[in-house]
């Protein structure tokens, strides 16, 4: 039941995106394409503008350039329309007090009902399914604040899923998760992506995780796209050295690309 609500493949095209905050040009001439149902990872050193890119795509930051979904200009779309297409999970979500997990996930249905009328009849089922797929049934009635870090990330994801978007934009979804939980979460996202044909655009700190899960990688440095393409094309030892100033060994095999830091000689 949870899946992209409207027809259309769901291809996101970003052309010439630029963001200026104050006097600083945070993003310049960023172009990328997210193919339908694919996972694109945005990587780059601190301050490269990864989060800003996602925020610009969701309409939180004023920008130059165009953002097209299946050829339709998203910037012109009404906020509700955009919310039905793009599901966004921020890096540090606000967790309201006194709200249960179910109520929180229910917020994801907001773009689908009139604010005055309140939730519609079918919403309950969609919410239940999102909770179920993210393994949150047992804690649906609990207060949001009582959840652990991993459970909270799942709750935010469930809320984004309840929006039935075509593209999931995730800002550092594995923040503060240990390796096991991070892996579990990313596996879950990948399964959802495959099952619903969702496209995923996520910023990822961890280069190996990016190399393992993404089909396409975009490397941002200083607000510009330094490289884009398949993981093995972008994640190279020299790229890591140039853009991160770090020394690493890169191994590519069937499961993806692994980037292993090596102490400088």
């Amino acid at each position: 039941m949870t899946g992209p609500a409207d027809g259309g493949p769901g291809r996101l095209q970003v052309r010439g995106l630029g963001v200026t905050l104050g006097r600083a040009e945070v993003l310049r001439d960023v172009s990328l394409t997210v193919e339908p149902g694919s996972w694109t990872a945005v990587i780059g050193p601190n301050g490269a503008g990864k989060s800003t890119l996602l925020r610009a795509l969701v309409g939180l930051v004023r920008h130059r350039g165009s953002v097209l979904l299946d050829g339709r200009d998203l910037d012109r779309a009404a906020p509700r329309e955009r919310a039905r297409q793009l599901g966004y999970a921020p890096q540090s979500p606000v967790l309201p007090d006194g709200v249960s997990v179910r109520e929180y996930v229910q917020l994801g249905r907001t773009p689908y009902h009139s604010l005055l009328a309140g939730p519609r009849h079918g919403d309950g089922g969609i919410v239940d399914e999102a909770l179920h797929r993210l393994d949150l049934d047992a804690m649906a009635g609990r207060s949001l604040r009582t959840l652990s870090g991993g459970e909270r990330q799942r709750a935010v994801l469930a809320r984004a899923l309840a929006q039935q978007p075509r593209i999931l934009l995730l800002d550092e979804p594995t923040t503060a998760l240990d390796l096991g939980h991070a892996q579990a979460l990313l596996e879950l996202i990948d399964r959802l992506r495959a099952a619903d044909g969702l496209a995923v655009l996520s910023t990822l700190h961890d280069l190996t995780l990016a190399g393992q899960y993404a089909q396409s990688v975009v490397l941002l440095t200083g607000g510009r796209v330094a490289a884009a393409g398949l993981p093995r094309e972008v994640l190279t030892a020299s790229a890591v050295a140039t853009h991160y100033g770090a020394s690493a060994e890169v191994m590519a095999d069937g499961s993806g690309v692994r980037v292993m830091p090596v102490r400088p000689a």
């Binding site: 925020r55 969701v58 966004y88 967790l95 007090d97 109520e103 939730p119 009635g141």
Partner: protein
């Protein structure tokens, strides 16, 4: 928004609050400076709606009941309900549990308007009192100034933190103006303070009729804002990604809440603590979803003020306490207890 459990909880909370209001209203109508026999009160009220049962009160007592006590109870309920609802709405819009309906200069503006009118203006224009109108206009002006200042002051404009600061600035300025005006007319001090401390003692049906349209608009708009305030709880940014326009929502809710507050203040002076404490109690007892908090605050606030007014006019009967003092005496220690109990749960 509410799961089946939540809806049941809301229904229960509303029933409890409604029961409290009914009990408070009955007590308020039956008890007062003038002792009226309860049976007579009931008979008289029923007689007025055409049901003849028992012995109604004699004409003078009946007039007291219907012309003075009943409108007073009704006005207390209206004012208390609107202030609590406005307070809850402000708390939702600012995501701040310490917000109250006077936050953006509604009280300071009303105080200044009333003081200026008492000091310099004619307090009666024919049969109409001018002070309520001056307070109403002053109240809305105060909020308007705060909103304008908040919008101009920051690039994002209308962000809640900026608005809050603008409200502080405007309130301080208007309060200073009021103090100045008070000093210029020190002989009117008692009248001014009497107004500031809140009073429902002169409530008549004409007052009820006067404020009803504004309160009706305010209450209607606010009651339907529950779902959107729940969305705003996740912050402006995330709310925007869910399809909501935070600034527009904030403007509409603030306008409606300020309209209600201004009309309440116009007829009853400045009654504090209702808008702050009642929503907290409701949240504690019935959950934090605004779809519940708003309507239950409306009914609970009405009950609270009817009871407070009852205490104000019976504690030293036949003399009356200023109602602002009663709500403060009840509200302040209550609030302190709330903070102590909820300290660990604070944001």
């Amino acid at each position: 928004m509410l799961a089946p459990g939540g809806r049941r909880r809301r229904g229960r909370a509303l029933a409890v609050a409604g029961g409290a209001l009914l009990a408070a209203a009955l007590a308020g109508v039956a008890v007062g400076a003038v002792g009226l026999p309860f049976g007579g009160v009931v008979s008289s009220l029923l007689a007025h709606v055409g049901v003849h049962v028992g012995t109604p009160l004699p004409p003078v007592e009946d007039a007291i009941l219907v012309q003075w006590r009943l409108p007073r109870v009704v006005l207390s309920a209206l004012v208390g309900g609107v202030l609590a609802l406005a307070g809850a709405s402000y708390q939702g819009v600012f995501r701040n549990p310490l917000a109250d309906p006077y936050l953006l200069g509604a009280a300071a503006g009303a105080g200044l308007g009333a003081t200026v009118m008492i000091g310099w203006g004619p307090t009666q224009l024919g049969p109409l009192g001018t002070v309520p109108a001056a307070a109403f206009v002053g109240s809305l002006t105060g909020v308007g100034l705060a909103y304008a200042l908040g919008s101009v002051a920051s690039r994002q404009g209308g962000g809640s933190a900026t608005l809050l600061l603008a409200g502080v600035a405007v309130s301080s300025f208007l309060t200073a103006g009021q103090s100045l005006a008070q000093q210029a007319h020190a002989e009117d001090l008692r009248q001014i303070y009497s107004w500031i401390m809140g009073q429902l003692g002169t409530a008549q049906w004409s007052d009820v009729v006067l404020v009803l349209p504004y309160m009706a608009v305010s209450v209607t708009v606010l009651l339907v804002s529950g779902p959107v305030l729940d969305v705003l709880a996740v912050g402006d940014d995330e709310a925007a990604t869910l399809g909501v326009r935070p600034r527009r929502v904030r403007l509409v809710v603030l306008l409606a809440a300020s309209l209600g507050t201004a009309s309440a203040v116009a007829v009853s002076g400045l009654i504090g603590f209702v808008g702050l404490v009642v929503p907290h109690v409701v949240r504690r007892l019935a959950g934090a979803s605004y779809r519940t908090v708003l309507p239950v605050s409306l009914v609970g606030g009405a009950a609270f003020l009817v009871l407070a007014d009852l205490v104000a006019r019976t504690a030293l009967a036949p003399a009356e306490l200023p109602i602002g003092v009663v709500t403060a005496f009840v509200g302040a220690p209550f609030f302190a207890a709330l903070l102590r109990a909820g300290g660990g749960r604070a944001r």
